[in-house]
Amino acid sequence: MKLSATIRRSLPLVITFIAGLLAIGDYYLKVKVFNDFITQWMKFVNVAAAFAVIIGYVTLTRIHTRRLNQRREGWYNSVALLIGMYAFFLLGVVFSEGKFTAHPAYTYWFNNLYVPLDATIFSMLAFYIASAAYRAFRMRTTEATILLVSAVLVMLGRAPVGPAIWPAFGPITSWIMAVPNSAGMRGITIGIALGVMSMGLRVLLGRERGYLGPGA
């Protein structure tokens, strides 16, 4: 089966366009048959999308078996990664008696290994933020000064210590959140919404093809 290059090139663009149109149409076309079809279609798309994890799985396996084979520095880390990945998969899919993540053994390892690792790695940011606060955040410009003052007020107002020092810190924080914050964020959100709209148009019209991978 040999498809011409043109079809190969334009097929994904046509599919994207139709898929997008179907999704948008559902909002504006209130015809029961059509809406029911879209509901079914969305479930199809969900199932298909769930298969995307295969790519990450295979990629990691390939990278780390290669490292292992070449005995590159730190290859034992690759072993740990592969063991963790395959053991967790087997535990959840093959040996879970159809319970998947609800199986007690899976939950045990999830809670005692995965959760602490994830939480700890992200909690490291607390140290970085403190260190940057000390070493890099400077009132270089009027703007940076406004920003830092507002930040200090919010930090005081949103923890018990602020109101304990001066009760007005609470209301000041509420006001910053309700008024200038809402105004700024609203302007930004409207801008971003338009940006996403315009990006969406370009994707549907085939003017933006990055998602199709190299050479599209």
Partner: protein
């Protein structure tokens, strides 16, 4: 007695401390923990996706004979063509379905929720009785919000030179945004600290056993530091 209830928190504590050892310096223990984490993350995503595919498509296909489920499964199975040089274009079929649908859905909802409704909220009826400290519907606050929003929007107008009135307006916009970013800054500090507090709560919980490992970690660190120092002295 060694029971799973004791071993579990000890494993958790050990990995927590291995990650924090990074703050002394980047080291093997940290990298080991990081690799385990990456492996587990991908595995978890795969397990939970398998469950979904099984529940929604495979199981009705096998037990109830709902043949149409074969379709999304086949489409999903085109994803691995990602790894083929020759047939890479096949991978573009499922990805374009998923991206097209996602983009379409997002766009359709966006106009209302993030555009019209935002304008609507800005010009909602005011009430002088509202609390000036916390409510945007107090007339003064409503006016300030509108001015700030207008300024921000005008700042993001790119096809006109910033001159005269537009320049002033965009200054207002920039300052409004700076206050907003200050709030974001403060809240981010709060979030990051909360995460650390959560870990510390786990490590220091007097009813748990995780804190037993803290002295162990300190001893290990001291030994490593001492060994390094004597090595350095020899050199």
């Amino acid at each position: 007695m060694i029971t799973p209830e004791i071993v579990g928190p000890l494993i958790a504590a050990a990995f927590t401390l291995m990650v924090y050892s990074f703050f002394y310096r980047e080291n093997k223990a940290y990298r080991f923990a990081e690799h385990v984490f990456i492996g587990l993350a991908v595995a978890h995503g795969t397990v939970i996706s398998s469950k979904y595919v099984w529940d929604v498509a495979l199981s009705p296909l096998i037990t109830k004979g709902e043949a149409f489920w074969i379709l999304p499964i086949l489409v999903g199975l085109l994803f691995p063509f990602f790894f083929s040089k020759k047939y890479f274009w096949v991978y573009r079929i499922p990805i374009s379905i998923v991206v097209g649908t996602g983009v379409g859905i997002g766009m359709a909802g966006l106009i209302r929720s993030q555009f019209i409704d935002q304008i609507v909220q800005t010009i909602a009826p005011v009430s002088p009785k509202a609390d000036i400290w916390s409510s945007g519907s107090h007339p003064i606050n409503a006016l300030l919000i509108a001015i700030g929003t207008l300024g921000t929007l005008l700042f993001f107008i790119f096809t006109r030179e910033q001159k005269g009135l537009l320049l002033y307006a965009s200054h207002i916009g920039r300052w409004t945004m700076m206050i907003a970013f200050g709030a974001a800054f403060g809240f981010t500090v709060m979030a990051r600290m909360s995460l650390l507090i959560g870990r510390m709560q786990f490590l220091l919980d007097p009813s748990g056993i995780a804190w037993y490992l803290i002295p162990v970690a300190i001893v290990v660190l001291a030994v490593v530091a001492f060994a390094e120092r004597s090595k350095g002295a020899k050199k």
